[in-house]
């Protein structure tokens, strides 16, 4: 019985990896044969970003069972940390791949540390406090970055929270983070291949965590906190572990995001509350706790507004309507019954294990 279950897990994980790899191979073939529109080609890296974000948030929401409304904030930390490093080291490290890999590591670590610091006091509490605190964190980090001025010149790094003039840079100085104007001129190091590699890394981390001893401990906290505590599970430790890993992965996605665009600004649009909710929507629509679902829904919901461009002014309206319809289709009890009745498996006469 135990061996059978293990096999099922392995099989399930392999399907998830398989989907990603097959998607990558198909896209590569399409790129190499020129059968791809510039729009889709330009969307490939953002798709990777959102998939990583959705999978990493699913770790907090689905596996740990805590609601986090500040995922875009962690992405923001990673994006700025990574982009700052790349801009600072642009002339020092010439090999773009090496620089980018270091930037990713720096972005992930800094977001992870921030996640750890936030989680430390909050995850000791019971209730919805994490949602409240992360919501505030997302707003705070955006505003802090908007008043942050950092520049470099021959004498080192200059730092100010007033304006770029008070940095006191010499003639050859270069303002790297220019307050609300953010970071411009980040090298465009992000590629689809690196994006896919990062997705695979994210999946390996998350899936292995879920099926490990630690993962089972985390899920037992989600399912019954008192029972978990009674058998000696260190609740705060496991909560912090899951939350920090989730934040670090979001930071990684942020680095990928910032190296895909030449200008990076912390606006309410890209790192605000709406973005956090958007990532949460990916997770909820894909199925809370369902990693593969997160991947698929992140891809669909990112592609959809772009594919609806033909509808010009009505596109955001239609997008919202489709979102509502998809939500109902997935989770309305009546429709779930209806789907079971007319499911594909029924049609193919494979009854027997209908749940």
């Amino acid at each position: 019985m135990k061996g059978l279950k293990l096999n099922k897990n392995v099989k399930d994980n392999l399907i998830t990896y398989g989907i990603v790899i097959i998607a990558y191979v198909i896209m590569q073939i399409m790129i190499n044969t020129g059968h791809i529109s510039s729009l889709l080609q330009g969307l490939l890296v953002p798709l990777c970003v959102y998939v990583i974000l959705a999978v990493s948030l699913n770790l907090t929401v689905g596996i740990l069972g805590e609601l986090s409304l500040g995922h875009a904030g962690f992405m923001c930390v990673g994006a700025f940390a990574g982009a700052f490093f790349s801009r600072y080291m642009e002339d020092v490290i010439e090999v773009s791949l090496l620089r980018f890999v270091i930037a990713i590591i720096i972005g992930a670590i800094s977001a992870g540390i921030v996640g750890f610091l936030i989680g430390m006091p909050v995850l000791r509490l019971r209730g919805d406090y994490l949602a409240i605190v992360t919501l505030a964190f997302g707003e705070i980090i955006k505003n802090i970055i908007n008043v942050l001025y950092v520049g470099k010149d021959s004498s080192g790094i200059h730092f100010s929270m007033k304006d770029s003039m008070s940095l006191g840079l010499t003639e050859d100085g270069d303002v790297i983070i220019n307050g609300a104007q953010g970071i411009t001129g980040t090298p465009k190091d992000a590629t689809f291949t690196i994006g896919i590699v990062l997705i695979i890394i994210t999946l390996v981390v998350v899936l292995n965590l879920i099926h490990s001893r630690d993962g089972r401990a985390i899920m037992s906290i989600r399912d019954n906190l008192i029972a978990a505590e009674s058998i000696g599970i260190n609740i705060t430790k496991y909560k912090l572990m899951a939350f920090s890993i989730s934040a670090a992965l979001a930071g990684m996605a942020g680095v990928l995001y910032s190296h895909n665009l030449s200008s990076l600004m912390a606006t309410p649009k890209n790192f605000g509350y709406n973005m956090s909710i958007m990532i949460l929507v990916f997770v909820v629509l894909g199925g809370i706790g369902n990693i593969r679902g997160s991947i698929i829904s992140a891809v669909i919901l990112t592609l959809l507004p772009e594919l609806l461009r033909g509808l010009s002014n009505y596109r955001m309206l239609i997008y919202s309507v489709i979102l509502i319809v998809m939500m109902l289709f997935n989770w309305s009890p009546k429709l779930i019954n209806l789907r079971k009745k007319y499911s594909l498996r029924r049609l193919f006469k494979k009854t027997g294990e209908v749940r």
């Binding site: 003039m165 307050g179 411009t184 465009k188 649009k269 698929i296 002014n313």
Partner: protein, 421 residues
């Protein structure tokens, strides 16, 4: 079990969405206002599906259609908080293109036009750019906002596609040599405003209220403050607000009042400025107000007592109430077509299209040329031309991309803009 069915269905819908998306990209020129006959759309769809390569598509499509056309794309926020600016650019460029097409096009060739929404988001702006590239765009009028322009200019420089931003005012927008500006750069406006206040002795104690979360506003403020050191006035208070709290300005106003400021410099957009004027009036504080081109439009804010704006000075290249012939005919045509008074963004976009026309005529770039060839020709032509437009007379460009034109100082008198001089 259930999850498998769900994921299967989702995967199926994904595949269909992607397939239909590929087919759609050709016929998505819903914004096309001219010459886009049905046959052409069909042709475009075919070429798009077998060779979505943008450059090839743009070469083949016009040749098979009814005539050779220039394909001009535009990008701006048509939805979301900054939609006013994007829609103004959309309409302004549209109006100019219709006029040119009615008058016989550029060197006898019509212009096709396609506008894409970017929601004022850098990432979406690049998506919009790629959509336009799939459509076969040869020349870009955009993006409307600075941040988006910077993001798009990295892409257009990569493709060597000519880009003329109507209103992206940051200096970083024109860092690449294929990008030119219609509006003033932020430093230009900030320095210009400081010099104007200083040399005309408008005030000795100046307060500044600016939006620290906005590139445009903080960009102007920095240069203003830098230049103020060389001018005979003093900045006694500089207070910031952000996009998240832009409804109550009593703290900032109180500080300015306590510091004894005679003039408040507002390098911000008109919506917030109208609130500042109202709140200053409510607390009985009556300094002079001085703004930049973002204040244009303040007289059209709903429920705003325009008497409060009396005496407000602003540096703007365009005012809808100006008395010259070109502005009058533009405003009346715009109002007739879109039922709205044009603002500076519409005028910038309108000028942008005529600038492109002048540059094409100067360089002799043909619509059958590839986007990259057109870009090379236009880049050279831009430094040679001089255009009289709505937003300035005898506008000329350096190879760097910044525009040379004289700023106009306006004052609001009797509910109308009038030129100070």
């Amino acid at each position: 079990m259930k999850k498998k069915v769900v994921s299967l269905l989702l995967a199926a819908s994904l595949v269909t969405a992607m397939l239909s998306g590929c087919g759609n990209s050709g016929s998505s020129d819903a914004g096309t206002e001219s010459a886009g006959t049905e046959e052409e759309a069909d042709d475009a769809q075919q070429t798009q599906t077998d060779a979505s390569n943008a450059e090839e598509g743009s070469d083949e499509t016009p040749a098979e259609g009814s005539g050779e056309t220039y394909k001009i794309g535009a990008i701006g926020p048509a939805t979301g908080g900054a939609a006013v600016y994007g829609i103004a650019v959309q309409n302004g460029a549209d109006l100019a293109i219709k006029e040119i097409n009615e008058a016989g096009g550029i060197n006898g060739s019509m212009i096709e036009y396609n506008f894409q929404d970017d929601e004022c988001d850098n990432e979406k702006s690049v998506n919009a750019y790629n959509t336009l590239k799939d459509w076969g765009m040869q020349i870009l009028v955009g993006s409307t906002t600075s941040g988006c322009s910077i993001a798009v200019s990295a892409e257009s420089a990569n493709d060597n596609l000519f880009q003329l931003t109507p209103s992206g005012s940051s200096v970083d927008c024109i860092k690449n040599d294929n990008v030119f500006q219609v509006c003033f750069t932020d430093p230009n406006q900030g320095v210009g405003a400081a010099q104007y206040i200083g040399s005309n002795g408008v005030a000795e104690k100046v307060a500044v209220i600016y939006d620290s979360s906005d590139v445009y506003s903080s960009g102007i403020y920095e240069k203003f403050a830098g230049e103020a050191a060389n001018q005979p006035f003093e900045i006694v208070s500089s207070e910031a607000f952000t996009a998240d709290n832009k409804t109550d300005f009593s703290v900032q106003l109180q500080k300015a009042k306590d510091a004894g400021a005679e003039l408040i410099f507002l390098p911000i957009y008109y919506t917030e400025a109208s609130l500042i004027l109202t709140q200053a009036n409510a607390m009985g504080y009556e300094p002079e107000f001085f703004g930049c081109d973002g204040l244009d439009g303040i007289l059209n804010v709903e429920n705003f007592d325009t008497a409060l704006a009396e005496g407000v000075m602003l540096l703007t290249p365009f005012a809808a109430d100006a008395e010259d012939e070109a502005t009058k005919s533009f405003v009346s045509a715009y109002e007739a077509a879109y039922g709205d008074t044009p603002n500076q963004f519409a005028a910038d976009a309108y000028d942008a299209v005529y600038i492109i026309k002048a540059a094409i005529e100067q360089s002799g770039a043909a619509p059958t040329d590839s986007a990259s060839d057109i870009c090379d020709k236009l880049k050279a032509a831009m430094t040679e031309i001089s255009v009289d437009g709505l937003t300035g007379e005898a506008m000329s460009w350096e190879a760097g991309g910044a525009v040379n034109k004289a700023p106009k100082a306006m004052e609001i008198v009797d509910g109308n803009y009038s030129l100070i001089q």
